[in-house]
């Protein structure tokens, strides 16, 4: 049995694909469900990630709004799109731009660690802001979906082996097993 590519490697591609798809699925509730409920002197307000960003912007906290927007909406999306692109390229096999793709992989790996910002923010606020009737912050189900989505993207990035990008693109090679 002659296999140029160990079985393990191709399965990793399947792992990465599966995790990436799962992450994409979880991003839907993460963005549409409320992530936290703030109660300030009895007024209650429930926010999704996006409405929270808009509220921060409206309150004049542009820098924080920009950070939250980038960390919670842009980065997870970019990560998933980039990962999807890598997976499609790796599946095709023909790698003329392996160097750029590996750079992209490196970039995805670096920015990934920033996307848990939201989760930490909510966890921090829920823990610290507990002033009874005056002010409380409670996490909602959306933040759990978000955390799961982020963990899944991290798993997907780590399951992806950038070495598959460097295989020679000859068509005679056994194609990666289709799933």
């Amino acid at each position: 049995m002659k296999r140029r590519h160990p079985y393990l490697r191709s399965e990793k591609l399947a792992n990465a694909t599966a995790f990436a798809i799962a992450a994409a699925v979880m991003l839907v509730p993460a963005n549409f469900l409320p992530v936290l409920t703030t109660q300030t002197s009895g007024r209650s307000r429930t926010d999704t990630i996006f409405s929270g960003t808009v509220e921060l912007w409206n309150q004049g906290l542009w820098a924080i709004a920009a950070i939250v927007f980038i960390a919670s909406i842009v980065i997870p999306l970019l990560k998933l799109v980039g990962l999807g692109w890598l997976l499609i390229q790796a599946r095709r096999g023909a790698m003329r731009n392996a160097r750029q793709l590996t750079r992209l992989y490196g970039a995805l790996d670096v920015i990934g660690r920033w996307s848990m910002l939201d989760v930490f923010l909510v966890a921090f606020l829920s823990g610290v802001v507990r002033f009874g009737v005056f002010s409380t912050v409670e996490p909602r189900s959306g933040i759990i979906a978000f955390a799961i989505a982020v963990v899944l993207t991290v798993l997907a990035t780590h399951a992806f082996d950038p070495r598959v990008l460097w295989r020679s693109g000859s068509k005679s090679e056994p194609a990666l097993p289709t799933l």
Partner: protein, 306 residues
């Protein structure tokens, strides 16, 4: 050195369906459940028209019933003809039954009056909406009240109409007193159709409604008067409660030979005197009252009576 033959490697085929594909399936199930759970908690959306919407804010103002939040305002819009606001409220699923015809909606704002302080928490939280559910057919558009409706009345008791020259202190919630004991309350007051008098609707609670007879006299018990004469000072005798918050008092004369006049029927109209005549205070007819406590005694229940 003899070499044992290398062990033959175990070759296993890639499984047709790698286990890892369970992960997206689980994600789909969990995500779907989360969204479904959120959607299931959403009740119908209703609209309420108010003449004034000051302080009502989308996503912040809540709709309360019996002190519990049953919905949240999702939008506040000016009506097209500019004479009021339309408030959209998303009800919780469990409170969907509130949206039926006859439901009353009003805005709770802090109210500090002589009869007490209400809605003080809204000083901090801003106004909130309150609802008294209706019991008609389901509806989704309502007209909001511009003030707090009179409290829900106990079923028992009777209502009477009082006619007065001046409103005085007989506003909603003011007490109705018999021998300075509170036996009822003012429901509403309004100007008569021909504007010659004030009509005040009062409600007298169950066991005490029998105190009101056809010849009962009512007088204004609010405020106090203080007369200083040559022979000394005289303070008109009213209870502290009615002195502060106003109210109306009544007395029933003992009829000829101790016989009482007939019971006053529901809705009977009485005049309100501005002051009690001295003899009214002295009236002390014997009127049998069936108090609820007696009815609910265990022995009475055991007998299966009532």
């Amino acid at each position: 050195m003899s070499m044992s033959p290398a062990p033959t490697p175990k070759v296993s085929r890639a499984p047709r369906f790698p286990l890892v594909w369970v992960v997206p399936l689980i994600a789909l199930a969990v995500g779907g459940w989360m969204v479904a759970h959120e959607l299931r908690n959403r009740g119908p959306e209703i609209t309420i028209d108010f003449a004034d919407g000051s302080g009502i804010a989308a996503d912040r103002t809540e709709l309360h019933h019996k002190g519990v939040s049953v919905g949240t305002v999702t939008a506040v819009e000016l009506k097209p003809n500019l004479d009021g606001v339309t408030v959209r409220v998303r009800l919780r699923q469990t409170a969907a039954a509130i949206a039926s015809e006859g439901a009353l909606f009003w805005i709770v704002q802090p109210e500090i009056g002589l009869s007490g302080i209400r809605g003080l928490d809204t000083l901090l939280t801003g106004p909130r909406l309150n609802v008294r559910p209706g019991n008609g057919t389901p509806a989704n558009h309502f007209i909001g009240l511009d003030r707090t409706p009179p409290p829900e009345l106990p079923l028992e008791g009777r209502a009477f109409i009082l006619q007065s020259d001046q409103l005085g202190s007989l506003t909603t919630g003011a007490g109705v007193f018999y021998r300075q004991m509170k036996v009822g309350a003012v429901e509403t007051s309004r100007l008569a159709d021909d504007a010659t008098a004030i009509l005040i609707r009062i409600h007298v609670e169950a066991p005490y409604a029998d105190l009101v007879r056809t010849n009962t006299r009512f007088w204004n018990a609010g405020g106090f008067s203080f007369k200083v004469g040559l022979l000394g000072a005289e303070l008109k005798n009213t209870s502290l409660e009615s002195m502060l918050s106003g109210g109306v008092a009544f007395a029933t004369p003992s009829g000829e030979g101790g016989a009482l006049a007939d019971l006053a029927p529901e809705g009977m109209v009485f005049q309100v005197a501005s002051e009690a005549e001295k003899e009214w205070i002295k009236w002390a007819p014997k009127i049998p009252l069936v108090t609820p406590e007696v009815v609910s005694e265990p022995s009475a229940q055991a007998g299966g009576g009532k």
